[in-house]
């Protein structure tokens, strides 16, 4: 037996891993061969395992503890926050393009968009071509009846304060300026009894973008970033924290995803 066969057990990672069953099979055989000739190491391993079992038994007593309601509530809250964190990461992270590719059917019944979608589809192919824009103008007129206030682009700080007050939560400006868009106006409309903050943007090429935000309240969040096409426009929609968001633009999925990411930033 050599001197190295009697290493200090405390400094032998193989022995420690063997005691915990964390050693690869071939190394395990080596350790077992050594233990056969080293009673001190054998005793150390046996006692480590025994103490480990006792501590594990004491820890398992925690499973018999009654449910702690405060812990359960905090656990739910943390799950919500982490879910939100995951969604943000999906919006800003490398998975962005992949997510944008998963186009889904835009669910009807959410906000004023559903009105336009349903009504314009109903007339498509039934009447002469000029009827559809006429009806769109009519629906826009009906929609304007639900408008509560409008602010020009140069009054955005005032608009954001007022919108935040009306929606009883802080509303931040969509940051589309970094993408070359300039805010034209902001308004508050009522859709399905809920306030909807709407921002209108335009870039130097005349391309228009509409962004909306509405409180989610108890409604379930939209999972991930979703997209749908209708009437030549493309809409992206998602939930983040207490708000539902939507962005409408005539652009590619990647372009719309960039717009959504800028709104969220």
């Amino acid at each position: 037996m050599t001197q190295s066969d009697h290493r200090d057990p405390a400094l032998d990672p193989d022995l420690i891993a063997y005691a915990d069953g964390a050693l690869e099979p071939e190394r395990m055989a080596e350790v077992e061969a050594r233990l056969a000739h080293d009673p001190a190491a054998r005793e150390a391993v046996a006692q480590w395992r025994h103490f480990d079992n006792l501590i594990n038994t004491a820890a398992r007593a925690g499973d018999a503890q009654p449910t702690n309601l405060r812990i359960a509530a905090l656990e739910r809250e943390l799950a919500t926050r982490l879910q939100r964190r995951r969604m943000r990461a999906a919006l800003f992270g490398p998975g962005l393009r992949r997510l944008a590719a998963s186009v889904v059917i835009f669910a009807a019944g959410w906000g004023a968009h559903s009105v336009y979608e349903t009504q314009t589809k109903r007339v498509a192919g039934t009447y002469p071509g000029f009827i559809q824009p006429t009806l769109s103008g009519h629906y826009a007129y009906l929609h304007s009846a639900h408008q509560r206030a409008e602010f020009s682009g140069d009054r955005m700080p005032e608009a954001l304060d007022w919108l935040s007050e009306q929606m009883q939560m802080r509303i931040e400006s969509p940051k589309l300026e970094r993408l070359g868009y300039e805010v034209q106006s902001a308004r508050l409309v009522m859709a399905g009894g809920q306030p909807l903050a709407v921002f209108y943007y335009r870039n130097a090429d005349g391309e228009q973008v509409t962004v909306s935000m509405t409180p989610r309240h108890e409604a379930p969040p939209v999972q991930g970033l979703r997209m749908a096409d209708f009437e030549g426009e493309r809409v992206a929609y998602w939930s983040s924290g207490p708000l539902h968001y939507a962005v409408v633009a005539r652009t590619s999925a990647a372009g719309l995803t960039s717009l959504a990411a800028a709104v969220e930033d």
Binding site: P9, D12, A44, R81, R88
Partner: protein, 171 residues
């Protein structure tokens, strides 16, 4: 596994870990609550795609270390540890008490690796990340801690034996 069920499983693990750390069910739940409150506040720093368990355990570990009040609670509340062993197994209960008592005498740097490994819920690497130490340091503390634990328990047993002999000699 959904995020909710994953989190639920981790919270159960946190309660086990906290129970051995504090040796008091009430203090353990306080520690877990404090951990979850901090985790909620730090949720934006969590990196999606990374393992949630070491992140939560690290918060609990740091909370425990920085909370001196909890250390006092542990010392005061040692007799309140629930009895997980069958009541008729008095020898095992005595051993459990000895081992947990010895565990309390170890420095935190050695105590925590021993408990984390005894939970059998994470690899050495995960446990090392939880304690924010390199793997080599973790293994060294685990080995030294286990040997120190043996030494303390052996000393306690010798003390009991000599006490018994003295009693027998006196009778």
């Amino acid at each position: 596994m959904s995020l909710k069920s994953e989190l639920h499983s981790h919270v159960a693990s946190l309660r086990r870990y906290a129970l051995v750390l504090t040796r008091d069910p009430v203090a353990a739940d306080d520690l877990v609550q404090e951990t979850l409150v901090k985790a909620i506040a730090k949720a934006d720093t969590f990196q999606p795609g990374t393992d949630l368990r070491p992140w939560l355990f690290r918060i609990l570990h740091n909370t425990h270390i920085s909370d001196l009040r909890r250390a006092r609670t542990r010392a005061d509340a040692a007799p309140d540890l629930p009895e997980p062993i069958a009541r008729d197994c008095q020898h095992t209960q005595l051993e459990l008490k000895q081992v947990l008592g010895a565990l309390d005498q170890l420095p935190e740097a050695q105590r925590m690796p021993i408990i984390l490994v005894a939970l059998r819920e994470m690899s050495y690497a995960e446990a090392a990340r939880t304690l924010d130490v390199p793997l080599g340091t973790f293994m060294s503390r685990l080995g030294r801690g286990r040997e120190a634990l043996r030494g303390i328990v052996r000393g306690v047993k010798r003390g009991e034996l000599s006490l018994l002999k003295r009693k027998e000699g006196g009778e």
